[in-house]
Structures are given as structure tokens and as C-alpha cells.
Amino acid sequence: MKKLFGLATATAMLLGSTAPSFAADTLALVVSTLNNPFFVTLKEGAEGKASELGYELLVLDSQNDPAKELAAVEDVLNKDVKLLMINPTDSDAVRSAIRAANRKDVPVVTLDRGASGGEVVSHVASDNVQGGEMAAELVNSTFEGTAKVVELQGVPGTSAARDRGEGFNKGIDAVEGLSIVASQAADFDRTKGLNVMENILQAQPEIDVVFAHNDEMALGAIKAIEAAKRDILVIGFDGTDDAVAAVNDGTMLATVAQQAGMIGALGVETADKILKGEAVPEYTPVPLKLIQK
């Protein structure tokens, strides 16, 4: 079924320009990538809420490419969409796409990642800094104030890596007994999480806990730790299916769940309010959730 669905979306993307006319009001959702389960969940949350509220939802995939993103936005703006929800590939690069929507008077809501320019009615996102702090608190409570910590960073320079790292480091620095012994980038990638963790294991004889900026890296790190037969706890971030499963079977201590589905759903709810003329806050925080066994 999943596969069938994947094919259907792929076909829909291909046939985007020849989509039939819409009976209900149409919302557009331009997602940075559908290569990543997180954004697939986000998309599914939005789809669920949209059908509940009676909207057609047009989903386009930017494939992590700002140029494709702009083209996707330009395409949907040529259709009769009432509102544009966009999950930017890059906060800066998305500005021209948002301005294009502004020119056509189509309201814009950003999801998960913000935009550094253009008129955005509302930004719906989870608070990554808070998420990092939550992870630090968990380290503190689990090890009662004394632990050697490894941090696996996301793609250097991305806002998610910055914010999660900032919150986490703030939380760790606040407690004297906690120290970060290594902090290396593994680019949000499971394979790199594995390799980088293997290398750190070689260099650091004592590690108590690993905090990874996303679940993919956390899962890779777990493989490295298992292979080295070391006893180290791992905390991830995002709450993907694989990570939740790992938490449930005890291989992962916890994952800070960004509620991806909820971001999508809250995005559509916000859109609904805007279209009905209700006031919406500039920033809609989506609560994070610590998933533990």
C-alpha cells in the first residue's frame, strides 16, 4: 500500500501541471524533501487535517533544491490556490519564492523552517532550542549530574543543527558535572553517524551518552556502539518510526519528538483560520515530546 501510494505521489508530481480543476478550496504545500521520513510524516499530517477540514491539498517536493522549490511555487501560483504552505529548503533562498506569492496576494505559512524575508503570515514550527534543552535535562536526570557526553551535529550551518546544539550546550554547560568530550558533524545521515561514531569511539575511552541532532545519526551511532560492545546511551531527535521502535526495544534511551504530523496539521489549521479571516499568531510553536520507554 505504501508503495502504491509512493507511486501515486510520484505520478501526481509528474502530472502536476495537468491536474484537474478543484471543487473545494485548494491549499498548496511545498515540502523541502520527501526523501526524509520526517517530512513524509509532516505531509501526511497536513493531508489528514486538510481532508478533515474539506480542503484539496496539492503537495510538491523541492528535492532539497532551492531552484526546484522556486519553480514549484511558481507552478502552484499559476493554479487557483488559496494559500501556500511552504517548508523551505533554505531560509534565505526561499525569499524569492515567498515574494512571488506575495505579489499574487496568496498568503504564506512557513512550516518547520522559517524564512528570512518576504511576508509570512504565520510560522509553524517546533522549538528546536527547547528540544536541545530537553535532551540536556534528560542527560542530567539520568546520570544524576555527572556524565561524559558526545554530540553528533547535523549539517553544519543549518538552523536545525544550530538551534538544537545551542539548546543542548546551554543545558549541559549549566551543570558542572556534565562535559562534552567530542562534538562532530555527521550531516543528519545514518551512514555518517555510524562512521563518525566509530571514529570517536576510537578516540574516547569513556563516554556515557550520545546526543544526536536527529534520529538517523542516532541510529547509526547505535550500530557503532553495538559493534564496539560499549555501554553508551543514545538520545535522538525527531521521533521517526525507526527511532520510536528503537526506544521501545531499549536500544535508544529517548528521542526528542518533533511532532511532524502535528506541524503539518497545525499548518493546515492555521491556514484555515487565515482563510476564514481569523487572527493568527506570527509564530505557532508546536510542542516537542520526549519519547521514552
Binding site: 510520484a10 521520513p37 513524509v40 553544519p156 567530542a182 545514518r190 566509530e198 576510537q202 578516540a203 550500530k223
Partner: protein
């Protein structure tokens, strides 16, 4: 024709090897954790994936071609293999099927190049894009776990196991290296690969079936990419839809670092192995020394540039 040992010539001909040794010596001065048996095995294991792909890439580049589709083939092969393991397919069947699929995808690119005269860069760029699309459709953008059947445990050994204390991926890479070395140095196919890269017209006129050799070469590259995909999937016990992104660049870098000419016809498989090791040692060293990730990329680029410039200069002077 006996020649006395000439130190200068030796240095000039072995720039990559010397570079590797200097790099390792420098890192071991900085970090006591570097030159340990565990860490060296660790480096070898991490290098094995790129080394296997780069050895296939060496065949392609020796014919003056290029294969950009390796990363996509790796991901697709991994996904297919993971789903077969998850469906309790006997290990040997799953592995062979995956390798055949990799070879077939490579042969498809090779055929487009050989029979339609499409440039290798374009043909494999198309392959890279389309196969990546296949991966996304096949996996629906999500990782595929290898499941809970017994076969998943033996499959894990392919990536995580040991034979006589040596990681199995390293053993596999070693076997692949010996096979490639034999083929390139001791078989007709190897000679034809060099000849086509040296001058395709000459090879054609000498009765070499150029199209056939090209298809075989891309099939080898595809099969080795699939092999790398199997190992990666086994290590992670799951296949990632994004696996292998930009792996073609690491593979090409390894080949070039090893002294193989992108113009074709000249190069050695040993060089490729050393090139892959240089990249592996560098990644490991930067992690071990806890270098800030912002500086890591600059360091990597600088090392590759230095190696290639030195090698190019030694070739120019030894001419």
C-alpha cells in the same frame, strides 16, 4: 635492462603512497589513539565501501569514461537487498540477485554509451537521476529494515562480522582488489580496458570489440556499487533512501588521488586503493582530533588538491 635503485624516480612514481604514509605519521604524532590496531581496522572497514566503488570506477575511468550513477545504484541495491532479507529470502539468493541487479543497471548505462554514442557523463547522470527516483519509489522515501528473521542476523555479519579478527567488509574489499588487479594486469579484458582509454580508434582498428568491453566495464562498476550497497545495508541493518548521495565524488577522488588519469589509459588499481585509504584516514583523523566540522571540509579539499598537484607535477617531470 637492470636499473639501479633511483630514489628520485621511486618518489616520483609513488607520490600517493608516500602521501599516505606522511599523513599517517603526522596524525599519529597528534593523537595517541590513531595508530592502534583497533583504529586501523576501523579505518579499513570504513574505507572498504568507498574502495570497492572506487575500484569499479577505476575500470570506467581507465576507458576514459566516468560513472556518476554509483551512489544511486548502491542505494537501490541496498533497498532491494534489505527487502529481500526482510522477506526471509535465503542469504545467497538475496546477495546474488542484488549483484545481478547492480550489474544490469551498470550494463544499461554502458549500452547507452557504447551503442548510442552518448557521452559517459551524460548517460550516467541520467542513470544517477533515474535510479535515485527508483529508490524513492521503491522505498517510499523511508528506510527499509532488514527485519527479524534469522537470515537478518547472518546478513548483518556481511557488514559487521569478522573473519580471523578482520572485519568482513575489509576481507571483501581485499578479494575485490585482488580480482581487479588480476583482471587489469593479466587478462585480455584488462589490456582492452587500457587500450580503449589510450586510444579508442586504435583499439577498434586492432580488432577489439570496443562496445562489448564498455558494457562490461560499466557492469563491473554497477556490480561493485551493489556490493558496496549490500555491505552498507548489512552494517546498518537497514537500507536508507538517501544512501550513497555524492559517493561518486569520493570514488572519483580516490581514483584521481591514486594517480589514474581522467583522460583514460593510464593508472593503477593499487593507486586507487591508496587513494581510498587517504580519504579514509583523513576522515578518521579529523574526527579523532575533534576538528571543528567547519574546518574539516577545508582540510579535505586542501589534501586532495595537494596530492593531485604533486602527482601531476611528478608526471610532468618524469615525462
Amino acid at each position: 635492462m637492470t636499473r639501479s635503485f633511483d630514489f628520485r624516480t621511486f618518489v616520483m612514481e609513488n607520490i600517493p603512497l608516500i602521501g599516505l604514509i606522511v599523513l599517517m605519521a603526522a596524525v599519529s604524532l597528534y593523537s595517541p589513539n590513531f595508530l592502534t590496531v583497533d583504529n586501523l581496522l576501523n579505518i579499513l572497514r570504513q574505507t572498504s565501501i568507498n574502495a570497492i566503488i572506487a575500484m569499479g570506477m577505476t575500470f570506467v575511468i581507465l576507458t576514459a569514461g566516468i560513472d556518476l550513477s554509483v551512489g544511486s545504484i548502491l542505494a537501490f541495491a541496498g533497498a532491494v537487498c534489505a527487502s529481500m532479507i526482510a522477506a526471509d529470502t535465503p542469504l545467497i539468493v538475496a546477495l546474488l540477485t542484488t549483484l545481478v541487479i547492480g550489474a544490469a543497471l551498470g550494463a544499461a548505462s554502458g549500452s547507452i554509451i557504447a551503442f548510442f554514442g552518448v557521452q559517459a557523463f551524460i548517460a550516467t547522470l541520467v542513470g544517477m537521476t533515474m535510479v535515485r527516483g527508483l529508490v524513492l519509489v521503491y522505498t517510499d522515501g523511508r528506510p527499509i529494515s532488514t527485519g527479524d528473521f534469522d537470515v537478518a542476523n547472518s546478513f548483518y555479519e556481511v557488514g559487521g562480522g569478522y573473519i580471523a579478527g578482520i572485519p568482513i567488509p575489509v576481507v571483501i574489499a581485499g578479494v575485490v582488489f585482488l580480482a581487479c588487479w588480476y583482471v587489469l594486469n593479466y587478462t585480455r579484458l584488462g589490456r582492452y580496458v587500457y587500450a580503449i582509454g589510450g586510444n579508442e580508434q586504435v583499439a577498434q582498428l586492432a580488432g577489439v570489440n570496443v562496445s562489448r568491453v564498455k558494457v562490461i566495464v560499466y557492469a563491473i562498476s554497477g556490480a561493485l556499487s551493489a556490493l558496496a550497497g549490500i555491505i552498507l545495508t548489512a552494517r546498518l541493518e537497514s537500507a536508507q533512501p538517501t544512501a550513497g548521495l555524492a559517493y561518486e565524488l569520493d570514488a572519483i577522488a580516490a581514483v584521481v588521488l591514486g594517480g589514474t588519469s581522467l583522460a583514460g589509459g593510464r593508472g593503477r588499481i593499487t593507486g586507487t586503493l591508496i587513494g581510498a585509504l587517504i580519504i579514509g584516514v583523513l576522515n578518521n583523523a579529523l574526527n579523532i582530533m575533534d576538528v571543528s566540522s567547519y574546518y574539516q571540509m577545508i582540510a579535505k579539499g586542501a589534501v586532495i588538491l595537494l596530492a593531485v598537484v604533486l602527482d601531476g607535477r611528478s608526471k610532468a617531470t618524469s615525462k
